[in-house]
Symmetry: D2
Subunit: 114 residues, 4 copies
């Protein structure tokens, strides 16, 4: 599914319920953070290794929380007039300049210092 | 830009730096939450109205933080084998059943109770 | 109740259950953030005014989430050997130098720029 | 330092700057979460073991972020009329009933399911 199509569905969903009046960027950014917290909660007491090999029920929960994060993220970006994919690409290019391959390859210590 | 193309760029970026060993779902979900916090920080002392009419410098910052959130989100979903757009569509359909239009339209009190 | 006494109770609680092996500073800081998210969730769709005049059930929930935040905070500070009250006082003194009264009094714009 | 004394200092700090009008529970709970995110950021790419043995500069940063978390937490609890230490003790007693020692002692699997 293209994100433009998904965004259109999100707009209709909110429009039908007249929820856009609650959806200021301030409120949406808080909601996004809270949903990201619910996603992180799934993994919080696992080891890194355990989090990479989830039992089916945990994976189902994670999938659902990812859905929530995407919905708020697209909604927020829409309200700000930001294309999230373009914003990510720009940031990736900026990061490529900031963390050159030769300097950061395979160095945990430097990764820390990012 | 299609998210599949963006995801491909993110994979290459991480691969070149050998950063995937840090990128467990556990760590990525924490990073996603922290980035969502940096995004929310921009709006934290604004009114809702102010957040909907940002000065250019704040909008530029918000765009950059949105980029960070998208990067971690796609990376995390990729590690879990989840298609984020499909996950969001499923959640939207689930929400449509949970919050029927006739019951939730225009009601702040009910919105609270979600 | 003095926080030293509360901390002692928290230590006993964790010791009896052998939970300290999960309680690395990394895990505790993530748990603290997630609990802070559950607290923020109570207020997320309210106006500022509504959040200052909570119905009893919401206040009861907020009180319980505050309890969770305090427990993880004291536990984390304990693991790091940090006295949280002293750390806060030091930060307050530092902030007093950074935000002098005459410059920041009553200015929303400057508050934003903090 | 007793937390009541610290709270008094926080009240004076905010009063002198006329900042209480920004300090609704809604805004303070968001700020608390954001600060908790800044604290978690210090540990995000460390292993659990590394987070338990911080280099001095990282410990100094963690101490400062803990200070910020405490300041917002006491401020928020004050606005809601909640005693944070009493709230934590109550929650600890509630948790003691929910997670009995004999059932939860030394079980990672059960810890997950909390």
């Amino acid at each position: 599914m293209r994100y433009e199509d998904l965004l259109q569905r999100i707009r209709e969903f909110n429009g039908e319920r007249d929820w856009d009046r609650f959806h200021t960027p301030k409120n949406l950014s808080t909601a996004l953070m809270i949903e990201a917290g619910e996603l992180a909660e799934i993994f919080q007491w696992m080891t890194g290794k355990e989090s990479a090999d989830l039992p089916p029920e945990k994976l189902r929960q994670a999938r659902e929380e990812i859905g929530d994060v995407v919905i708020y993220l697209l909604n927020l970006a829409d309200k700000l007039g930001v294309d999230p994919m373009e914003a990510a690409l720009e940031k990736l290019l900026k990061n490529a300049g900031k963390y050159p391959v030769e300097k950061f390859r395979g160095s945990a210590a430097k990764y820390w210092e990012r």
